[in-house]
Symmetry: C2
Subunit: 363 residues, 2 copies
């Protein structure tokens, strides 16, 4: 009986201490996150970023954190990602911050700004220059966390059927260019329109529009615009567009710290990786376009046109800064960082690229 | 007695199944990696990369993977990292691949090449253009794994006491410039020397040397060269220098798959993060230098000089390609990728930076 009591005590103690059960439970508890992305199923590059994220998270957590991805084909609400994550219908989103400017105006500043920072400069601002903290100021009151979600690189100014030689040539020009850049173009006399992606090629071909901007060679090639518009203008309006990972704050808070870190680091890597993938795809697709259509003409807008666009941009930003103190804080922060960082870009990468190009001219 | 036997059976079954013990053990088994870095204790930026790595790994693994970092102050062998990791004396290293070209010539190609790719282009080559696979071809036979370890960004051409107006001005010029770039300078008549970091300032001040290159504003500021040499030349020899994480292959193989992935993703993120940190620090320090010493003159070498340097570079590379098939394969891969990717850089970031600069000229 003594032995018996000893055994009973032992078992009870083990059960009470939870030595047997809790490690098994904690090692096996699986957290599941549902992510809604703005893109269609298997969309190149953007869609690879979410797949890369889910794979890293799964492997690093040994299956304890699982992300399932619903594309717009499933949830049918490409521009509803913000609302769905806010409401908790989805735990995460992959989209772009500037899509929400109609709902929360200060979300505009975390994708790309006309005449603003190129990709590496903008990552500097996000991670070293106070950008993440300002993004949190905008998103935290909404019950959301927002993180960089992958960069497209410098976006091209678009495909034009006719050359733009003066500001006059922009007057009345029908161009597909949405968002803030569209507002700028309207200010200088163009007629910005928005047309669904699936109808763009036909609209350009039939002269319903005179020009359009999409992304750059990485995603323009498959659209085929280079077959029907001879002028490819260099960029001014999105010098390095960052996508966005959105997370519902309550869901984030429910994760243990190691899984939060696994998620944070995976988002960060997926974002950087997407930038490198997009850069490579642009290089590859631009080589293909040039080889298949050697007559494509790369043009830069005349200085007069660029100066007018920048003036319109500066006026619109001044209006926004005057309306809202947080908008003002973000705009000032970006302007100050841009001034500092561009001075370095100009004597480093830019000076180097110009030196080397001057040599190639003799080849 | 029946009850007694039941309890005994229960306990035995639990012990046999290992339900109690194995999850506890596997949840608690701690893997420890010793990392030797080439840099002194608390070296800025480079040293932050290893700290960032160790912190991410620790947090994501919930303490199951621990990295301890020994700086050169501890191990006393800054350029012995390669040998120490190969021998298993350390499990990991943080250094730069081109330091090992005297031991294994083909390690030269994975840091930066004169007239080669800028940082984003080189990440494109590593991750999308076959660079990682070629690095593995070089390192796998040595029992080592090598991963990108953080990028300094475009390095400046160096500090010069006199202006360089012609190739003649390089003849006999005593310059601290080590490695492959030093070989190139020797070919055009300069006298490259190597001098320990601690003696560089005095050597430049007392005209023991006429010029030197270090990194760029991120790490040049603390050295103080801007106080004694008025000319700061833009870069040509290291357009985006990537550091290196080295791992002993046997040690890597001993880690479970989830910890391998945690280590891989942490290295990848630490590398990208260091690039952004270095870029930001360059911007910050360049602003400070210019403000404290407004007479610093930023110069680009004349075309004649750059053309001679590139000719010497191409000749040296042709020799290396002729000597070794793997060297040839790497050199060809880099050249082909550079050609493709630079065409994109030229119409994207470069065209944009030039457009915007043309506007600022009127400000």
């Amino acid at each position: 009986m003594k032995k018996n009591r000893l055994l009973l005590t032992l078992i009870t103690a083990l059960l009470l201490l939870g030595v047997c059960t809790s490690p098994v439970q904690s090692a096996e508890k699986v957290y599941r996150l549902k992510l809604a992305e703005t893109w269609p199923t298997n969309f190149p590059i953007f869609g690879d970023a979410t797949k890369n994220l889910a794979a890293m998270v799964d492997k690093m957590s040994k299956g304890r954190l699982k992300i399932t991805i619903d594309s717009k084909n499933k949830h049918k609400a490409p521009l509803g990602v913000f609302d769905m994550v806010r409401a908790g219908q989805y735990d995460m989103g992959h989209s772009a911050s500037y899509y929400w400017k109609g709902k929360v105006p200060n979300t505009l500043y975390f994708s790309a700004m006309p005449f603003g920072m190129i990709t590496v400069e903008q990552y500097g601002w996000f991670y070293q220059g106070g950008g993440m903290e300002l993004m949190e100021k905008v998103y935290a009151p909404l019950g959301l966390l927002s993180f960089p979600g992958g960069n497209t690189g410098n976006q091209m100014g678009g495909w034009f059927k006719k050359e733009i030689n003066s500001l006059e040539d922009l007057k009345g020009l029908k161009m597909r260019i949405p968002g803030f850049a569209g507002e700028i173009l309207a200010k200088v006399g163009a007629k910005p329109t928005n047309i669904p992606a699936g109808e763009l090629y036909t609209a350009l071909e039939r002269n319903t529009i005179d020009a359009l901007e999409w992304v750059g060679p990485s995603l323009d090639l498959r659209m085929g615009f280079h077959k029907i518009a001879p002028y490819y203008y260099t960029g001014w309006h999105e010098p390095g567009t960052e996508l966005q990972f959105l997370i519902n704050k309550r869901k984030w808070d429910s994760l243990p710290p190691d899984l939060q870190e696994i998620l944070r680091v995976s988002m960060r890597t997926a974002a950087y990786d997407m930038y490198i993938q997009a850069y490579d795809a642009s290089a590859e697709n631009w080589a293909k376009m040039k080889s298949d259509y050697p007559d494509i003409k790369v043009k830069t807008f005349p200085k007069e046109v660029l100066a007018a666009l920048r003036k319109a941009n500066d006026e619109l930003l001044a209006e926004k800064a005057a309306e809202d103190p947080l908008a003002n804080e973000i705009i000032q922060s970006q302007a100050a960082y841009l001034k500092k960082v561009r001075a370095w870009t100009d004597i480093s990468d830019k000076a180097y690229l110009e030196s080397v190009e001057s040599l190639s001219a003799d080849d």
